[in-house]
């Protein structure tokens, strides 16, 4: 049980994060300790070196000032022993101090004086390796002694040479204790660090775990489900919000697809049914008077169908960002004016007054065919939906870096409930006979040109559609 828990924990990101944090923490603290250790060791050594040189000078003076008689050997030895005792007494017991200090005075023609650990042979063997400069401490390793000795030597006027050596066993023991303590503390710190970082990582990643569990539960059935969004603005909360926004989009798309399928079912199926019906009647009564009429009717309906299909395909391409634009420098004013000329009789037919005021010379980079269809679409809308005898005004003028086309009427205006969704496909007024793709198409084409479309109320109380298209960089 605990083994499987362990192996499960090992596969988690939280585990890996904790391990890495702990390793990094341990390495950093070890480096810090090593630096500290080296600094302390240097201080300790310079302290013992200072004692060593001072004592060696004192002893040199004693040796120099002691008259050469039978007693001088004993006197110097006594003084040397006393000195070593005096300095180290505060810190260590006698036996150890004796083991760690030696004094050697070589004298020409006389027996050398030795005060220090026995046997002295390894010392005498190692001493020639000491530093060549008098008065400067150097390290030598003596057989049988674990610690190296710091040794300083002086030469007296009579040619006798004084060696004073000192192995700081007390400091060495202190440093050893320091290492042991550090290792213990270090292990504790690593364990504690691991525990803290593991707890943090597990807690944080548990939220991710919850997100993935929730997302997992969100199927097509309950697309309405959302992740809880915390107040905090950290990465995980942002992840939740991003997920929720994505779900919003997916839900909208799914709804859109439902609307489209419903609309296709209605808008395509019913004309297909009537076309089939009228052709069937024509077949059954092929000799009757109105068969020509029925076939013509069928052809007209088929034209409408293929038009709807084309617009729907254009929209799908525009949505996928795959609508190929054949851009050229276009005078928007001229384009709009030509279209107004084309539509003028249609407006007159319904007793509308179409006014067209355009500023010429506003060049945009546009696809003439798609933009003509876009504007024709809007004019078609006006012709089809405006109650008879209204005013329609079209204008084109410059607005900052944009060419702006404004189309407004004094009709009943856009139904409020439709305005927000006007650019969605298959959204249309209750009494509209169109396919409901018109404004969606307009919006898609204008956006593909880097422009925007807005719908507001006109000053005359009707609808106002405003299209902004970026002006061409270099006027043609």
């Amino acid at each position: 049980m605990s083994l499987s828990l362990y192996s499960r924990a090992r596969s988690t990101a939280a585990w890996r994060i904790s391990i890495w944090t702990t390793v990094a923490f341990s390495i950093c603290s070890a480096i810090a300790f090593v630096i500290m250790y080296l600094l302390v060791a240097r201080d300790v050594q310079s302290r013992s070196d200072a004692w060593l040189t001072g004592e060696a000078e004192t002893l040199s003076e004693v040796v120099a000032n002691t008259p050469r008689d039978n007693l001088d050997t004993r006197l110097v030895a006594e003084v040397a022993e006393l000195a070593s005792h005096e300095v180290m007494a505060a810190e260590e017991s006698n036996s150890q101090t004796q083991q760690s200090v030696f004094f050697l005075l070589t004298r020409t023609g006389r027996e050398p004086i030795w005060v220090g650990p026995t046997p002295r042979t390894p010392f005498l063997g190692a001493l020639p390796g000491a530093a060549s400069q008098p008065g400067v401490p150097a390290s030598i390793v003596v057989g049988g002694h674990p610690l190296p000795f710091r040794v300083v030597w002086n030469t007296a006027a009579d040619g006798s040479r004084l060696y004073l050596g000192f192995a700081d066993t007390a400091a060495a023991a202190m440093m050893r204790r320091m290492i042991v303590r550090f290792l213990m503390i270090w292990c504790g710190m690593a364990l504690l660090g691991f525990a803290i970082s593991a707890m943090g990582a597990f807690r944080t990643l548990q939220r991710v775990e919850r997100i993935s569990a929730t997302v997992d539960r969100i199927g097509t059935e309950d697309l309405g489900k959302r992740l809880p969004e915390a107040e905090a603005d950290d990465e995980i909360s942002r992840l939740s919000r991003t997920f929720n926004r994505m779900l919003d989009r997916i839900q909208r798309s799914v709804n859109q697809i439902r609307i489209v399928t419903d609309s296709v079912a209605h808008d395509l199926k019913s004309p297909v049914t009537t076309i089939r019906g009228s052709l069937e009647v024509a077949l059954l009564h092929g000799d009757s008077e109105d068969w020509r009429e029925r076939v013509a009717d069928a052809v007209e309906k088929l034209d409408r169908l293929s038009q709807t299909l084309n617009t729907a395909l254009d929209l799908a391409e525009a949505d996928a960002g795959a609508l190929p634009l054949k851009l050229e420098a276009l005078d928007l004013g001229v384009l709009v004016e030509n279209l107004c000329d084309l539509f003028q009789p249609s407006f007159a037919e319904r007793q509308h007054k179409l006014q067209c005021h355009v500023q010429a010379g506003l060049f945009i980079d546009g696809d003439p065919s798609l933009l003509s269809r876009t504007i024709a679409n809007l004019l078609d809308n006006e012709v089809a939906h405006l109650p008879a005898g209204r005013q329609v005004a079209v204008s084109v003028c410059q607005c900052d870096q944009y060419a702006e086309m404004v189309l407004e009427d004094d009709g009943p205006g856009f139904p409020q409930e439709l305005r927000a969704r006007a650019f969605e496909r298959f959204v249309k007024g209750q009494h509209s006979s169109g396919h409901g793709l018109g404004l969606a198409f307009v919006n898609a084409i204008v956006q593909a040109h880097g422009g925007c479309v807005t719908i507001t109320d006109s000053s005359a109380g009707g609808a106002q559609i405003r299209i902004k298209l970026p002006l061409a960089k270099v006027p043609a």
């Binding site: 076939v295 052809v299 084309n310 084309l342 249609s346 065919s369 269809r373 024709a376």
Partner: protein, 224 residues
């Protein structure tokens, strides 16, 4: 006039063959690029109608090959692809006009006639006469019998287009394309309104009507 129709869809090929034959063309039809190439090398066709989606080679490649063999016959491209890029590529590679599916037969006929006229480069006459209707293309004036017609520039252009295609049915799409230079597909009866207005000036009471509506297809100008 002899045409080569290259179209792999049997239903469309048959309908084109029938429709174009009835329109007075001699028609050779091929279902794939290879057999079409075999027919094309004879160099007897005045124009070609080529579908882009052929089973063996790409329609555009077929056109390129035929052109490489020295054929100069105009080509009308049929395509189910709708994107402008393809159209442009088609035109650049020697296709001379294009139509996207679904299309009206009248449109195929009209575009072919247009291509053939363009290629045969007939001398332009400055006057067109149909029955008692007379158009002066230089002074932009029209008369019906003794009566001078008061036409706007648009109406004159429309009448001119109908007269140039006397006896042939033209669709609304063709009218928009040739008179207004717009490839748009209005949902409302924009073109019809223009025709009604023109008709009210040309076909007044007491004279035999010249402009006729062919329901479901378009219009034709002819004296009955």
């Amino acid at each position: 006039m002899r045409l080569l129709v290259v179209e792999d869809d049997e239903a469309i090929r048959t309908f084109l063959e029938r429709g174009l034959t009835e329109a007075g063309f001699q028609v050779d039809a091929a279902a794939d690029g290879r057999s079409a190439e075999a027919l094309a090398v004879e160099g007897i066709h005045d124009a070609m109608v080529v579908d882009l989606g052929l089973p063996d080679i790409d329609g555009l490649e077929f056109i390129a090959r035929v052109r490489a063999q020295g054929s100069t016959s105009p080509v009308l491209i049929l395509s189910a692809r709708r994107s402008v890029d393809d159209r442009v590529r088609g035109l650049e590679q020697g296709g001379d006009d294009y139509l996207t599916k679904p299309f009206a037969l009248a449109e195929v006929v009209a575009r072919l006639r247009n291509l053939l006229r363009r290629y045969s480069a007939q001398p332009e006459s400055s006057r067109i006469r149909v029955a008692d209707l007379e158009l002066d293309l230089v002074r932009r004036e029209a008369r019906r019998g003794e009566r001078e017609l008061q036409l706007t520039a648009q109406e004159f252009a429309l009448l001119e287009y109908l007269c140039r295609n006397t006896g042939r049915v033209v669709t609304r799409t063709l009218i928009l394309d040739h008179v207004w230079r717009m490839r748009i597909d209005p949902a409302t009866n924009v073109v019809d309104v223009h025709i009604y207005r023109l008709r009210s000036k040309v076909d007044v009471e007491g004279v035999p009507p010249l402009i006729h509506t062919i329901r479901g297809i378009g219009y034709v100008l002819k004296s009955v």
